[in-house]
Structure formats: structure tokens, C-alpha cells
Symmetry: C2
Subunit: 351 residues, 2 copies
């Protein structure tokens, strides 16, 4: 893997996100130091990108492709699609389509990235919709894969069942699990709970008999972090709400603690003594340590880095890209879906 020319080629949107080229390029440098086999193609304003690359000699062999246009957080997906050929985000995705890179990574507008990726890479054979999957921290030994995190606002039972198969394949590839435990997010664990879509998806998934993964029924949102499950499946609306509720609560508690510890001298002394504990806590909760959401179900790999990720977070997202490139996830998902459809008699999507 570390022979240089055979290693993974990552197309990086150097402009997207809140942070800009300095952070994206610094992140690439960290990832490259960890894995000398990675090669980058950097898309963005050539002068800016070149200036940043000059600060990181390890990136000297990176290719830089000048793009005029940057897709911002305010651009609608429909606007972004029209600017695929001129924007840094669009060109990074097209590099994957054209076989010039093994994966594209952007910290920009999620909806725009999804739209450009879906239109240009197309969904895999038999997949109706791609899903956005990410790893979340738990109290157990493993992270948990959660999908969909906002790519699809409304999903039917068939979409959810496909997400389950894709999420299981991702868990096997990214976490090295032999038989991931898969659950559907619901508002109770009894069979009669939930929306029609969730109940129908559960009925489909119960027919699954592959040894590659296991459907374990429903999970409620307060159990997501307990390490009892490897893959959590939900529609993009609920997934976004769960993810943002978790992020918001973690920040809420951090703010409360800050306020509490600044309230008395005794607390301040306590805080200083407890610093190792808080470092551990922050390390576990820091979104940078869990950065890198993956669009599953496309003919090509596209990774979304968090819009406010720092250089370390960016490097972690690049690591995710490298791992799934080397694990050949697209082929795995295709095989798992074929097996599942045979058992579940799941109809293929209309082309």
C-alpha cells in the first residue's frame, strides 16, 4: 500500500467548509504523514492552494487543479448541479467519475455534495437512494454506524432495508466486524410501535438470513451510545434530529460545566486537578475524532467532512476515505444487496 503509485488517490475540495484551504491542506499533510501511500489532487484557487501546499513539504507531489468557483452553504442543490464543472466541489467528484481519483472529499454544503455526487456518479445497480453514514462514539468498544443522516428526508420501507444492508457492509469494512448487529431507530422496541415505514422495513429485515450481519429489531434513541448495536438505520429526517440532538446536548453540557467551574475558586482548583478526566471526555466527544461521513450506494466514493472540522478532523476524514477505498466497499455492498434481495424478495428499484 505504501509503494506510492498504487496507493489511494484522494480528490480534495480544498475550498469547501467554514475553514478554507489552510485547514484542508493541513489536514491532508497530517494524513499523508500517517500514510505515505496517499496521493492528493487538490481542487481550488490555485494561488491560495499552492501557498498552503508550500507550507507542507510532504505534499510537494500533490497535483493542484485550479477552479474559479466555490459552492457555498447558501447554494441550493439545483444551483450546485449546474456548477459541477467549474467548482472545486464538483471537480473533485468528477475526478472520481473519470477514474482520476479513488474517492472525493469535501467539507462543503452537504445537500450540494449529495446532488452533484448522485447526478454524476449515479446510484449503484438496484439502489434507489444513496445514504449518508457516519461513525458515532459509544460507551462500548466499537463505534456505531448511523445512517441516513440527512440525505433523504422521507424514506419508504424499501429504502430503509437497503440502508441496513449498506450500513452493515460499511461496518464490516470500516470496523472489521464479521457480523454487525443492525437495528432500526424507533420510538419503542415493541413490534407495534412506530410509523408504517419503520414497521414494514422491520418485516422486510426479519427475512434476512445472511451470516454477514444480523437484524436485531428496534432501538430507542436513548440507547444509541450504549454499545449494544453496530449499525443504526433511520430516515434522514429522524437521523438528522438524533445526530443534532446529541451534538447539541454534548455542547450544552460542556457549556454548563464551564459555567459551573468558573463559579468558585474551589471549583477552579477542582477543574485543574481534573484536567486529565476532561481531556479524556473531550477526546471521546470531539466531533473531529469521528469526522468523515460516507455517501453509500453510489458508483464511486464521496466523503463529507464536517464544515467546521479542524486539520486533525480533516485528516481523520481522509483516513476514513482511505480505509473504505482499500476495503473495496462498493463491491461488498453490491454482493450483500444481491444476497439480501434473494432472501427478502426485495424488488429491485425501477431503473
Amino acid at each position: 500500500m505504501a509503494t506510492g503509485h498504487q496507493g489511494p488517490r484522494i480528490a480534495l475540495d480544498a475550498m469547501g467548509g467554514d475553514v478554507g484551504p489552510a485547514t484542508m491542506v493541513a489536514g491532508a499533510a497530517i494524513a499523508r504523514k500517517r500514510n505515505s501511500g496517499i496521493r492528493f489532487v487538490l481542487f481550488g484557487d490555485e494561488a491560495q492552494v499552492r501557498a498552503e501546499v508550500a507550507r507542507h513539504p510532504v505534499l510537494a507531489d500533490s497535483e493542484i487543479v485550479h477552479t474559479e468557483d466555490v459552492i457555498t452553504g447558501d447554494d441550493k442543490p439545483s444551483q450546485a448541479i449546474r456548477r459541477a464543472k467549474t467548482s472545486s466541489m464538483g471537480r473533485a467528484v468528477l475526478a472520481v467519475k473519470d477514474g482520476l481519483a479513488d474517492a472525493a472529499l469535501s467539507a462543503g454544503n452537504t445537500g450540494a455534495l449529495m446532488a452533484i455526487a448522485k447526478l454524476n456518479l449515479r446510484t449503484m445497480h438496484g439502489i434507489d437512494r444513496p445514504a449518508l453514514a457516519a461513525l458515532m462514539p459509544t460507551l462500548g468498544d466499537n463505534d456505531v454506524v448511523m445512517l441516513d443522516l440527512g440525505a433523504n428526508t422521507e424514506c419508504d420501507a424499501r429504502n430503509l432495508a437497503e440502508f441496513a444492508v449498506m450500513g452493515a457492509a460499511y461496518a464490516r469494512a470500516a470496523m472489521g466486524l464479521s457480523c454487525p448487529r443492525v437495528r432500526l431507530l424507533n420510538i419503542g422496541t415493541e413490534e407495534l410501535k412506530g410509523t408504517g415505514e419503520v414497521k414494514d422495513a422491520a418485516a422486510l429485515l426479519r427475512t434476512q438470513t445472511s451470516g454477514e450481519w444480523r437484524f436485531d429489531g428496534f432501538i430507542e434513541a436513548d440507547r444509541l451510545g450504549r454499545g449494544e448495536v453496530d449499525v443504526v438505520v433511520t430516515d434522514g429526517f429522524s437521523g438528522n434530529i438524533a445526530l443534532k440532538s446529541i451534538e447539541g446536548t454534548a455542547r450544552f453540557i460542556t457549556d454548563l460545566l464551564k459555567r459551573a467551574f468558573s463559579s468558585s475558586l474551589r471549583s477552579k482548583a477542582g477543574f485543574l486537578l481534573s484536567r486529565p478526566a476532561f481531556t479524556l471526555l473531550r477526546g471521546h466527544l470531539d466531533p473531529n475524532n469521528h469526522n468523515g461521513a460516507v455517501f453509500l450506494g453510489l458508483n464511486g466514493l464521496v466523503i463529507k467532512s464536517h464544515g467546521s472540522a479542524d486539520a486533525t478532523g480533516t485528516a481523520n476524514a481522509i483516513d476514513v476515505a482511505v480505509r473504505i477505498v482499500s476495503e473495496d466497499i462498493t463491491r461488498r455492498i453490491t454482493e450483500d444487496l444481491d444476497r439480501f434481495r434473494t432472501h427478502a424478495e426485495l424488488p429491485e428499484a425501477a431503473a
Copy 2:
């Protein structure tokens, strides 16, 4: 209010929840000590309830009504409905229907309580569905009212708009706000984001011109605790997921902190010094301090106490009941809905 016979009469399901009569009766005693005007009717196993009441002389004038049957967490709503006349939960609700109590309170099965309450009290004129509303802590000065928290899995735009009006009336009554700020929970703040139901509900709410409350658009789940809004409206599926994600994350972080602080002697010393800070944190997050969810939209008041609430939590839920009884919330909701319908041309529910 403290003259005895004129005070609020609370029908208490003394058996429901995970905790049983000892906690429910102890909670009633705490509430009674705070407000000598409250009178209780306690429904449950007479011997057990009488033994508990004997330990709290302040409750000596409470009425005890013997019931044979207890509705458990495993009972389906359809089974619970058939046992309304024999169970402690059912009899507490019927006491409200029959004018023997001003509000009923139970810590038992939420779905069962909702079903019994809806069938026996019926929804208010023009209301299609009741909603479960609760107060949640924020970093601001006020709590936030959130509804629906699980009573209605699937909601249309009209349901959501009605929840907004009911939630605003509740915020005015429970928090004394003159013009609560109301938002719809969504996965983005732009107009084009979200499900069809959410977008249609926003369109309806934008027509609102009453000075009693104000519709401020969408809110994302990571902003719920920031104190920027007084009422958050959502369907019961998303509401349950948001609430449980928040609860689960708070517990997750508490567990992480425990683990971190038990990892070294230095951390332990830090923890002891920081105890006041943690007490503040726990006080802010403890669900017992925010106990008491209210079913809005029924012809009669029913309060849900958390199944695992302690005596203090139970007393807090009783306080919520007392407050909304004295604020005449049913009349307020009726008036606000009439005004809203006039402006929004919202059709009344089919009877």
C-alpha cells in the same frame, strides 16, 4: 388558594410507574407541604396506599379509593381502555371526567394513559389530536415547551399547527410569558428544508397574526437548549427521538465523567473539590426537576409523571398540575385556537 376546599383536587394513580405507592404518596406529601390547598384522591390497592399515607400525616385528609387492577408497561392501549373502570390509572382519569378532580396524574404506561384519557375525556372542540408537552431545560432563563413527545407518531400540517397554538397557550400559562416564540423542529432553517408536512405547517403558521404568540420559523435539534425559543413543535416520532437522544447523551456524558474521575487519585481529588459544580450540573439536568408532561387538547387535565421519577420528581409533576389548573389552560387553548382559525382559515376537525 390555601383555604382548603377551594384548592386544586388532584386524582393520583398511586400504583403506576416503576416506583409504586411509596414514591407516589411521598411525592404527594412534598407537594402538599408546599401548597396546603391541594387535596388528593389516591387510587390504588387500599391496604398499600393506606400504609403509605399513614407515614405522611400531612396527607391525613386524602381520600383513598380502592382499585384491584394495575395497568403495566406491557399492556397495549386497547387492553388498557377496557380496564378504565377497574384500574388505578383509569379511575384517576374518570375522576376528572366526573368532576371529582381538577387533574389526574399517573407515572404509568404513556400509551395506555393517552388512550384512556382520549376516549373518556374526548378532544376539545375543533382539536383533532391531543399532544404530550413537557418543559425542557435550556442555557437561557426560561425552559422550553416541547410537543408532541410521542402521543402521535404521524402528524399532518394541521395537527402540527394546532400543536403550535396549544404549546403557546401552555407556555403562557406555565411560564407566564406574554408572547412565546414558537418554532417548528426541522433539519434546516431554510424554507425549502424538511418534509411536506413541516413545510405546509410553516405556511399555515406564517398566517398567524395574534399578539399572544409569534411564529419564528424552523429550529434545528442542536439549538434546542440554547434558550432562543419558548415552544418547539414536532410530530411524536421526531419529538420522541429528540427527547431520548438528549436524555441518552446526558446519561452517556455522566457515565463518561464517572469513568474518567475514577481513573486516577488525582482525578478523585479533583472530583471532590468540584462537587459543587457537579451538583449544579446534576440539578440542571436531573429529569426529576423537569418532571410532568401534560396532555394538551383534552376536555380535562391529565399529567404524565416519568416512570422512574422519585418523590421530588413526583411532587414537581404535581406542581405542574396545580399550576395549569389554576391558569385555566383549557379555556385559554380554546380561545387561542378560535383566534388562530379565524386568521389562518384552518378548517375545524371533522367531529
